[in-house]
Each structure stands twice: as structure tokens, then as C-alpha cells.
Symmetry: C2
DNA sequence: TAGATTGTTAATCGATTAACAATC
DNA sequence: TAGATTGTTAATCGATTAACAATC
């Protein structure tokens, strides 16, 4: 059906559009023009229309866009109308924080199990889910379909875990480890490299200071 | 001095270059050509040379790049040779995880205080730092220079906190809240929108499945 | 119908890749 | 010197912005 490939730049903007549309919806506003939305979001109206048109005509000439409808459609494009089973792999501080991030749960991202390499945490419960030993991972994957594995392990362990996840048929990896995972192209990887983000921030502080001195 | 503006696309790639160079250094390798590095990192040699040349000549014709030197220079560009004072604003699960992320500390990112809105956590210590009431934030900023505030609060509280931080002269905000902060241009903001990242992942799972069915 | 605003084509801009002369 | 590989200019590609005809 859809065969035109949509650029990741566009996809990357969809969540932000959806967030703003959600806010407007909450405020009880019914419709909005690309021009007005552009003013609020600080992007060009042209970009907004181009972005939406990648997925077909969501608007109406002379009227604009219906907020509630557009919000829902973007949700569907992002796959938020379906629920996802999730696995926590690495039950340290960061992993615990993510599993406790209740918002995910209410939005169709459901953790079904948690694994860790350290015996210290086996049997402990985080976010209402019992932590299991890493050795059981392969077995678990044989019996259960997993959509997304959240990978919050030190890098060496992360590489190993990614292999086990891939072999076990896990669809996607949300990778918080500081490595580039080499997985077959059938497995989707989304990286969250926190230190990279912090380093970028550090660069921009320096740059800002330099330009202020000038 | 430097006045040519370097694109954020380039800056965004520097941490990854640095990571690979660090690995190579650890392996005891001394030099590398853009061609070889391109093979390892799966980017074009042309891009590598262009990126590095934004900052002047790091290499040598016929030889390549000295790994140790390049690693250090990229660190300097990113401002990693200087230490930064950090503030945790929002001491929930995610905030605690970040403050406990020891790597930061060993790398010159030092937390000096933590604040929260909930009286339940006042006086508690996380990552060796005592959590103070949010009301004390403005006073703290008057007395202490803060480079980076890590903002891990629900969005409404985050907007307020961002204002207080800005007024107090905080240089930069590492924003984990799901809002776009409106701050003066002198304050650097780096967003980590976790749910946006997860939604992108969700889209790509869907897309992968569709293309496999074809 | 007139006004508003989309959908879409065309123009511009910026980023990536290719090519090659300079030079170690 | 010959070979290797950078630094840099030129060509290509893709993404953003502008313009406008279609249409509600």
C-alpha cells in the first residue's frame, strides 16, 4: 500500500505536533490553520503542510485542520493505537526509572518482564514487575512475543543482551547503552545516548559564552 | 576568533566520533585514516574529513589521524576539558537515576544540589546529595554559579522551574520534561523527550512490519 | 460569491558525497 | 621518489521554504 518512504526528519517531528495538538484539544479548541499552528510551534506553515501531506489530506481548504481528528491520525501513524509489550533488560537506576514511568503504561506500552545480570536484584519487584535472572531471557522469549526491549545495561552486557534479544525474535530495541548495536535490519533500534546529549549541551554552552564575549 | 557557525548536525556527530576514538585508543591503536574509520563507523570518509575540517586540520596527508590527539581535541571542542556544576531539579525516579549515573561525575559534571517540590523527599539524600525544597532554589542560585540544571519535573512544574532557573542566571537546562521551554536565548536548552523517542520507535516497528509483508 | 486556507509544484537552501590537487 | 591520505573545491542530493492554483 504505502510505498513512498517517509524521511526520519518528518517522523521525528510528528510527536511534537501531536503534543501541541493534544494541548489544544485539552483547551477545547476545535480547529487550527497551519498558519496559527506555525506561530505557536515556531516552525513554518509550509513545513507543517508538507509534513502532514506526506500522509494524505488531513485538512480542508478555507477551514484548516480539525484538531481532534489530526491528533488521532498522527497517533495512528505513530502506531499508538496498538499496544506494545515491553521488556526491561537491565534493572539498575535508569531501568527502574523507566519502568516506573507510569505514563507509558497508560498509553499502551506494557512491561511484561524485567531481567538483570546481578543476582542482588533477582526476585526484587520494580514497578510491580519481578526481576528475573538474565539466563532466563532466551527461554522467556521462546514463550512470549516481545515488541520492545528497553536496554539499560553497561555496554559490554548490552551487546550480548542485544544478540539474545535478536535471536529470540524481539522486534525492537530502545537502546540506552553507549554502544551502537549491530543487529539484523529486521530489528528496529532507537538510541538514547544520554551522554551524547549532555556533550552537545556542553558544546552549546561554550559556544554561547564565546559569542557573548565578542 | 571562531566566527563561522558550525551546524548542529556536525556537533551531533562529534560525541560518536569521540566514542569510537576512545575505543580505538583503549585498544592501543595509534593512528587511523578517514577511510578505515568510515568502514568501522558506517559513515562516508568524506563526511568524516569534512566534519573534522570544520575545526581545522587534525590530520596529516599520507598518514591519517592520530587517535589519541583527535580524541582529546574533540573533547576540547565539546567543552569536556572544563568541569561543570550541575543542579538536579526534580528528584523523582528519573532524576535519581541521572544523579546516580556515576560516569558523569568522573567526567567533570558535578552535581552540587538537588531540589524537589514534594515535602516527602526533603532532606533525603540521593547520590550523596541532600534534596532541598524548591522554595530554596532562587536563594541557592543567588549564592552559587550553576552551569547546567537537569530538569526532571512534570511539565507544569518544569515551566515554573525553568523561569526561576533563568532568573537565577543558570546557563543551561537539560530538559527531560515534555514541554518546550521558552527561555531567553542566552540560556541553552537541550531536550531529551523520552516519549518522542519511543513514539519514533513505535512508528519504525510498524513500518518495518509493513515492508516485510510486501 | 468572496475569503481563507489547503495541497502541491517550484525555488532555495543546506548538508552530504565525490573528486582531486596539495602534501606528508 | 612513489604511495597514501588529507584538506578543500565542486557536484549532487535532500530537505525546507516560497508561491500559487485548487477548492472548501
Amino acid at each position: 500500500m504505502e510505498n513512498r518512504e517517509i524521511s526520519q526528519a518528518v517522523i521525528g517531528r510528528l510527536p511534537r505536533y501531536r503534543r501541541y495538538l493534544g494541548e489544544l484539544k485539552k483547551q477545547g479548541i476545535e480547529r487550527i490553520s497551519s498558519k496559527e499552528l506555525s506561530r505557536i510551534m515556531h516552525v513554518t506553515a509550509s513545513q507543517i503542510r508538507q509534513d502532514f501531506n506526506n500522509f494524505g489530506g488531513f485538512g480542508q481548504q478555507g477551514y484548516g485542520y480539525n484538531i481532534s481528528y489530526l491528533h488521532e491520525e498522527i497517533g495512528k501513524i505513530l502506531g499508538l493505537d496498538k499496544s506494545h509489550t515491553m521488556l526491561l533488560v537491565g534493572a539498575g537506576h535508569l531501568g527502574s526509572a523507566l519502568i516506573n514511568y507510569m505514563k507509558f503504561r497508560t498509553r499502551g506500552f506494557n512491561f511484561v518482564a524485567a531481567f538483570d545480570i546481578s543476582p542482588d536484584v533477582y526476585g526484587r519487584s520494580i514497578g510491580g514487575i519481578e526481576v528475573l535472572p538474565m539466563e532466563d531471557l532466551a527461554g522467556f522469549l521462546e514463550k512470549n512475543r516481545v515488541d520492545i526491549a528497553v536496554l539499560t545495561l553497561p555496554k559490554e552486557a548490552a551487546v550480548e543482551a542485544a544478540e539474545a534479544l535478536t535471536r529470540g525474535g524481539c522486534r525492537a530495541i530502545w537502546n540506552f547503552a553507549h554502544v551502537d548495536l549491530m543487529v539484523p535490519s529486521s530489528v528496529v533500534v532507537e538510541n538514547v545516548h544520554l551522554s551524547d546529549s549532555l556533550y552537545k549541551l556542553s558544546y552549546n554552552i561554550k559556544r554561547r559564552e564565546l559569542s557573548e564575549t565578542e
